[in-house]
Each structure stands twice: as structure tokens, then as C-alpha cells.
């Protein structure tokens, strides 16, 4: 089995929205038609995005932490949006687990968006069909691109490499290793959707330092002493090397 997915490292994401703009730029030129962008420079701009970065504040001032949270379709292993679709436009690919919408079949009833607990699907204002992250399916298999670029546009754009892409079912893959070794988790596990995309938690590097480790208890050369410097005649541990 192959299940392509993204692993998003919340420890690294700086919330720059590069993945958002890169996603929009690539997918607005996609085969399913452009992504709506209503009133982009006027009052109440709105439009279709496959990917959004949200910001959350954890804790209470002054002990707060800001978490930037990129959010897109999680390509669930058991996607609730697929069985509810009346036309079969919403489907999950057998070969790589990507959840897609057939733009020719979708009737725009929005029923799939009711079934998705993550709000990953958006009805396009212009085309009146449901749209969602395709994991850049028109990019990752494109053999005219150099192999290093056969990745989703968001992954290519991320300046901090917070986004990893690969097959989560392959235990040797970069994404599976990251999930396994860095505590990758799924969103809203309570619905049993088994999202393929995982998030890596915020991690803090901390070590315990005891007070005696900050001051050298044993200081034969009398270095790093507080001023004034000790008298030359003062005893030392080692008379010979004293100054």
C-alpha cells in the first residue's frame, strides 16, 4: 500500500504563508480550472485556497507560545467525504491514497464538506464545484520536471523545510521516520478518519544545569575569579604553576 501524505513540523513552521501562496499559484493553473479569487484588492476579498496557515496562541501571557498551523486536506485513510458523495465525484485513489474531486462529475451540493470535520473542502465561487488539496497530483508524477521538484508546491516553497512529503506507509521513508521518531500525531482522532497527514509537535530543547556547573569549584590556575585578582602569595593547589 502507498499513502502519500504531508508531515508538517510545527516546531519549524514560522507562519510565513509561502506554502499558501505557492499552492494557490500552482493550483490556480491546474487542469480543474483556476481557483476563485473574488475582490482580491477590494473590500471583503474571498477565494478558494487549498492550504491556509492559521495562528494559535497557547497559554496565558506572559507564558505564551505562538503556534503557526498550516491546514490542508489530510488525505484521510478512511475519508468521510467520499462515501457521502452522491455522484462519485469525490474519491480516494487506490494507488497512492490521494483524495480527489472529479471536477467533471461534481454537482456542487456541498454535502462532502459537511462530512469533513476539518473544513478542508471549499466550494469554488466561480465554478460552483468542490475543490480541495490534490497533493499536487499534477506535479508529483510529472516526468518533465527534475526529480527533486516532483513534490507538492507547498513543500517546494517552505523556506524552513517544515513540510515533508512522502509515503507514510513505507516505514523507511522520511515521513514515516519523522512520524515515528518525532512524535507525529493526527488531527481530531476522535472521528476515526485516520488522517494520512501528520503533524510533528512543538519540541523544546532543554537540559538541566546545576549551580556548581556554572562556577568552577576547582580552579588551580585562579582563572575566572572575581576581581580583584588574588594575591600572588595566596596558596594555590599547585604552587609550581602559580603566577
Amino acid at each position: 500500500m502507498t499513502q502519500l501524505a504531508l508531515v508538517i513540523d510545527l516546531n519549524v513552521c514560522v507562519g510565513c504563508h509561502a506554502c499558501v501562496t505557492s499552492c494557490k499559484e500552482w493550483n490556480t493553473s491546474g487542469t480543474a480550472g483556476f481557483l476563485a479569487d473574488e475582490n482580491p484588492y477590494a473590500k471583503d476579498p474571498t477565494g478558494t485556497f487549498f492550504n491556509r496557515v492559521q495562528t494559535f496562541e497557547i497559554g496565558e501571557f506572559p507564558n505564551t507560545e505562538t503556534v503557526h498551523f498550516p491546514q490542508s486536506c489530510l488525505h484521510c485513510e478512511d475519508p468521510p467525504c467520499v462515501p457521502v458523495c452522491p455522484t462519485g465525484a469525490s474519491y480516494k485513489r487506490e494507488e497512492d491514497g490521494i483524495v480527489l474531486v472529479d471536477s467533471e462529475k461534481c454537482i456542487g451540493c456541498s454535502y462532502c464538506s459537511w462530512a469533513c470535520p476539518y473544513g478542508a473542502r471549499e466550494l469554488d465561487e466561480n465554478q460552483k464545484i468542490m475543490k480541495k488539496c490534490t497533493l499536487c497530483v499534477d506535479r508529483i508524477y510529472d516526468e518533465t520536471l527534475p526529480e527533486a521538484e516532483r513534490k507538492p508546491a507547498c513543500v517546494m516553497a517552505c523556506p524552513t523545510e517544515a513540510r515533508l512529503f512522502g509515503d507514510v506507509d513505507d516505514p523507511e521513508s522520511e515521513v514515516a521516520t519523522a512520524i515515528r521518531e518525532s512524535g507525529g500525531y493526527q488531527l481530531m482522532p476522535e472521528w476515526g478518519t485516520k488522517p494520512a497527514n501528520h503533524y510533528l509537535p512543538r519540541r523544546k530543547a532543554s537540559i538541566t544545569i546545576h549551580e556548581d556547573e556554572l562556577v568552577r569549584a576547582d580552579n588551580p590556575l585562579k582563572k575566572e575569579r572575581k576581581l580583584p585578582m588574588p594575591d600572588e602569595d595566596d596558596p594555590t593547589l599547585d604552587e609550581i604553576t602559580s603566577w
Binding site: F56, I58, C109, W114, C116, Y118, G119, E190
Partner: protein, 325 residues
């Protein structure tokens, strides 16, 4: 959820249509067993069937406004194995067809007796077609209710009470309409239909109150903690990724002020239950058919508000991601 008028009209109109058919067929069935007087096949059953069809077609028509691409609506019959919406799309026209056949049989008088029992009970063709239509009618109630009840993420809807309420609301409003229709036809069925409407309205009051009580005590499974996967008691959203609105902010929030939201609940509780009950009982005792029609219209208006509230009350877990701009 944002209440869509297309769906509000769809569910209330077909509900009333189904209920009216059940009322008409119950009348026919009872008359076969000599429990109620037989009615004129053309004026009562055929025109009644036509009224049912008008309601069903109006509901179907309104449902098209819910679709982004109505010209592709025919595709929605494809996934009946998994999707309740697809099943409804098949069952609704099936009901229309069977009700049309049932009405036509009455209208043309093409109603051969299929079976005769010893007690003089005759099973004719319309009774058989009507029985099939009744089954389809209940199947449609099940489909309509399950469209909402099967989505476990919308916990306010994910209960068998949803299906029960859709069925009983449809039946109550249909019998209410049948009361007015029977009075207009000058038949002796006014008290039978009126009495049934009173019983059904009382029943659905109990089941709707039960679902309101359930929802008021509902504990949502998803929280901001599970939504972003960070275990902390204090999480606050600071940005939702876009300054303007999006499909996510428009489609999943009812957008009404808290005062309006609360008032709609009380409006529907008054308009659907006590007021039509009063009107229909007064209409029956004073024999004023205008009051009987008014009972249906008031209840229908209330049902529109009930459906609005049904949608508005459902809290989608995706809203956790859209708490602040």
C-alpha cells in the same frame, strides 16, 4: 451550519407532500375495511394525489437551488450504495411516479379488483399501488432523515431522533393539510384527519423536545485541543489565515445574532405546536374550514423556522478553526 433556504423548502415541502399522501391513503385503506366512508375517486383521491405531486415537485424544484451545477443533477443517483443523498435522489422521483400512478388509477377509474375476501373486502389496484407508494414514502422519510443523521461529525443531527422528527413533522403537516382538504371537499373525514393531526403534532412535540433536550446537554467531541493536537487548557486563535471571509466562514456558521437565534426557537415552538393545535381543534368544533387551512399554513411557517433552527443549531467541528479573523 448555515441554513440554506433551498433545503429548508425541500424538506418541509416534500414532508408535507408525503404526509398528505399518507393521510389520503389511510383514508382509502380505512374505507376498504368500512371504517370510514369511501370517497369520490376523482375529486378526493385523484386531486389529492395531484396536490401531493405539486408539493413533491415544488420540493424537488427548490432542491436544485442548493446545487452549484444543477445541470449535472442526474449524476447524483450514482452512489446509492453509500450515500443517503443519492438514495433520496432515487426515492423521491420513485415516490412521484407511484403517487402519479395511484392518482391516475383513481382519475381514470381504471381500478380492477385484484382480490376479494369473504367479508366483502375488495383489494383493488389502487390499494396495491398505494401500498407500494406508502412504503416508498417511509423510505423517503428515512433517506431525508439519514442524510443528516448519518454525519457523525454534526453531533446535533447524529441521532435516530432526526429521522423520527422528519417523519413525524412530515406526517403531522400532511394530516393538517388533509384536514383542510377534506373540509374543502365537504367529506366526512375532517374529524378523522384533524384528530390524527392533533395526535401526530403532539407526538412530534415530544420527540422534538427530546432532541432539543439532548442537544442542550450535548458535549462536543472535538475541541481546539484535538483540532490542532496541542494539549493545553488555554488555546486562543489569533489568525485564521485570511482577513476576508471564505467558504469555511460562510457555509458553516448561521450568521444570526444570538438574540435572533434564540427567538427563532421560540417562534417555531409556538407556531408548530400549540397554535395549529388550537386552530385545528377550533376549526373542527366550530366547523370553519378557514381555520383548518390556517392551521396548516401556520404550522408550515413554523416548520420553516424549525428547519432553520435545525440547521443553525448544528455546530460543525471545522468551526474550531475559524474562531477569529
Amino acid at each position: 451550519m448555515h441554513p440554506a433556504f433551498s433545503v429548508i423548502f425541500l424538506t418541509t415541502l416534500i414532508g408535507a407532500g408525503q404526509g398528505l399522501f399518507l393521510a389520503l391513503y389511510t383514508g382509502q385503506l380505512f374505507s376498504v375495511f368500512k371504517l370510514l366512508p369511501a370517497q369520490d375517486p376523482v375529486n378526493f383521491y385523484a386531486y389529492g394525489g395531484l396536490l401531493v405531486l405539486v408539493l413533491l415537485v415544488a420540493g424537488l424544484f427548490s432542491s436544485f437551488f442548493h446545487l452549484g451545477r444543477p445541470e449535472r443533477a442526474w449524476r447524483s443517483a450514482a452512489m446509492w450504495r453509500t450515500s443517503w443523498l443519492s438514495r433520496e435522489v432515487i426515492v423521491l422521483p420513485a415516490l412521484m411516479g407511484t403517487v402519479a400512478a395511484w392518482g391516475l388509477i383513481h382519475f381514470l377509474g381504471w381500478n380492477p379488483v385484484l382480490l376479494t375476501f369473504r367479508a366483502g373486502v375488495e383489494i383493488d389496484l389502487s390499494l396495491l399501488v398505494g401500498a407500494i407508494a406508502t412504503l416508498i414514502c417511509f423510505a423517503l422519510f428515512l433517506c431525508t432523515g439519514m442524510i443528516y443523521a448519518c454525519i457523525k461529525m454534526l453531533q446535533e443531527w447524529a441521532t435516530p431522533l432526526t429521522v423520527v422528527n422528519y417523519t413525524l413533522f412530515g406526517a403531522a403537516s400532511g394530516f393538517m393539510l388533509a384536514t383542510g382538504f377534506a373540509a374543502w371537499q365537504g367529506t366526512g373525514l375532517v374529524n378523522f384527519y384533524g384528530g390524527s393531526a392533533v395526535v401526530l403534532t403532539t407526538l412530534v412535540f415530544l420527540t422534538r423536545a427530546a432532541s432539543l433536550y439532548r442537544n442542550s446537554r450535548l458535549k462536543h467531541k472535538s475541541t481546539l485541543e484535538t483540532a490542532i493536537g496541542i494539549r493545553h487548557a488555554k488555546i486562543q486563535q489569533k489568525a485564521q489565515g485570511a482577513m476576508g471571509g471564505s467558504f469555511n466562514t460562510r457555509h458553516f456558521f448561521h450568521g444570526a445574532s444570538p438574540a435572533k437565534y434564540r427567538s427563532i426557537k421560540w417562534y417555531f415552538l409556538v407556531l408548530v405546536f400549540p397554535l395549529p393545535l388550537l386552530l385545528v381543534i377550533l376549526g373542527m368544533t366550530m366547523q370553519i374550514s378557514g381555520l383548518l387551512w390556517a392551521a396548516f399554513l401556520v404550522q408550515y411557517l413554523g416548520l420553516l423556522m424549525e428547519r432553520w433552527f435545525f440547521f443553525a443549531q448544528a455546530n460543525h467541528p471545522q468551526n474550531l478553526y475559524y474562531q477569529t479573523v
